[in-house]
Point group: C2
Chain length 291, copies 2
């Protein structure tokens, strides 16, 4: 099979692409995410038709917990879903086979195959957007976890009894190191400004907040490295567009917080390469492999 | 191959066993750990001879970082070693092939194959002794990490800028949830008592300290589950001999700290079954598989 369709299903939009075996996106299409699961299935089927890919395998990366068999979305707060058999619903409407995966897992797979983790056996992707997500590839295989929920990095408890998180816990990493945390830190001091613009303008408060986010990012990466010992950490998501302003403090704190850092190889921290298309590319590749 | 030798190399003793394909230890022998690497190699070769297993495969589980190729001990603070090519040194002295592995990884493999994790695809072993160690088995395979150092659970940073740890970091999990932490908590209040005896006698201070260790154990397990999503967590090490007095508060805190615990399957927390022989059994099985 050469071409496959990748679908990135988020709470606000559905993006789909026709993807080549080398990860190139040949064509793309997108729609707003409709309000019901039935309408989402319609929209995905429509996107597959629009891409002219009726019999191609379809991979869907969904923002939510996906069951072990990769057929059902167990829980997707951004979609308002609990237990939707999405793969079978889409499969009944399109010609090719359908594979479902968590969106961050799909993106991790893409970075591992075609992006910043290419050629690396063991890597993690940490996506720093509004929250923090991620995925794990170990020994060349995507790690899904016992219940399909591995790599929920944003909710690693980093500060015991720390800041409250909408997930119900306290001290979750994403309360300290995400785009949401950056926005909050900047606006606490500057009021309701455009954070990206303030950073671009070199506002010292905004730059200091970004440095702080990077530092917290590195602290959490040390926790992940203590568990997983990746060779490479790929950082994706919108906040990584700040480049070294985010990654330099992250690297420094990572090294500072890593146990026995002077006695072990230290994982390299790299920016993601595939950008927002990673979810599409990874989902398509997983569908092509039927895996 | 039916019989294999497993060697558990620690800072104070070397234990070896002749192990059957079903994980049964047919014979055991042990020696004190000598002071130099050369003498350790002599001792291991002597134990293999003593067990009458000259041509059997030999698996060594060593308390330290083991390189990716599983031939060298990179760093072993309890042995005082830096970069010792142990597998090749032993191989030159015994008849069978030699495989080297981290001791906690070997124990995790044993619990996964023959113990509390038998039949479970994705599990972690967390050993609660003086410190905290562990190992990871995902989709039926031992996870070694990119540099062979995965599962360094004791040094997961659980409390930001928390208690100092000899590793150089602060707030490491083992400063809160280990046998060492238990001893310190009890002796801070009761003076230089026998902690196990105080617990056995039902001393309320000792029991409360044990409950607190269990609670911290559960808090750290929530961090591990957010990353790895195991189906089962097996708790081993000396402290688990306290049974439900340790595990009940651990389970309660684990559930309380797990993100979205009411929306996802929750990992089961079980006591290890193989006891101190786990390292021997796992190392032998890994040697038999040549893996």
């Amino acid at each position: 099979v050469s071409l496959a369709v990748g679908v990135d299903l988020g709470g606000t939009k559905i993006a789909a692409g026709l993807v080549d075996t080398d990860g190139t996106v040949r064509a793309q299409a997108r729609r707003e995410t409709p309000g019901t699961a039935e309408a989402v299935v319609d929209a995905i089927a429509g996107l597959v038709r629009e891409l002219g890919a009726h019999d191609a395998p379809v991979g869907i990366g969904a923002a939510g917990f996906v069951d072990e068999a990769r057929r059902r979305v167990l829980f997707a707060p951004n979609l308002g879903w609990t237990d939707v058999p999405l793969a079978d619903l889409v499969s009944a409407r399109v010609g090719g086979p359908v594979v479902l995966e968590n969106d961050a897992n799909a993106a991790a797979w893409a970075e591992s195959r075609f992006g910043a983790g290419a050629g690396v056996a063991s890597m993690v992707l940490v996506t720093v957007g509004t929250g923090i997500g991620g995925g794990i590839v170990l020994d060349g295989a995507l790690v899904r976890g016992g219940f399909g929920i591995a790599g929920e990095f944003g909710h690693v408890p980093l500060v015991h009894d720390g800041r409250p998180c909408p997930c119900g816990q306290q001290g979750c990493w994403e309360q300290y190191a995400s785009g949401g945390a950056l926005t909050r830190a900047v606006r606490e001091q500057l009021g309701d400004v455009d954070v990206a613009a303030a950073i671009a303008a070199g506002n010292p408060v905004a730059l200091e907040a970004l440095d702080g986010i990077g530092t917290w990012l590195g602290a959490g990466l040390a926790a992940i490295a203590a568990v997983l010992d990746p060779q490479v950490v790929v950082v994706g998501g919108g906040v990584v567009e700040n480049g070294e302003q985010l990654l330099a403090p992250a690297r420094a704190e990572f090294r500072r917080r890593l146990p026995a850092a002077d006695r072990r190889p230290v994982a390299e921290i790299r920016a993601a390469r595939l950008g927002p298309a990673a979810g599409i590319v990874g989902a398509a590749d997983l569908a092509r492999r039927g895996a």
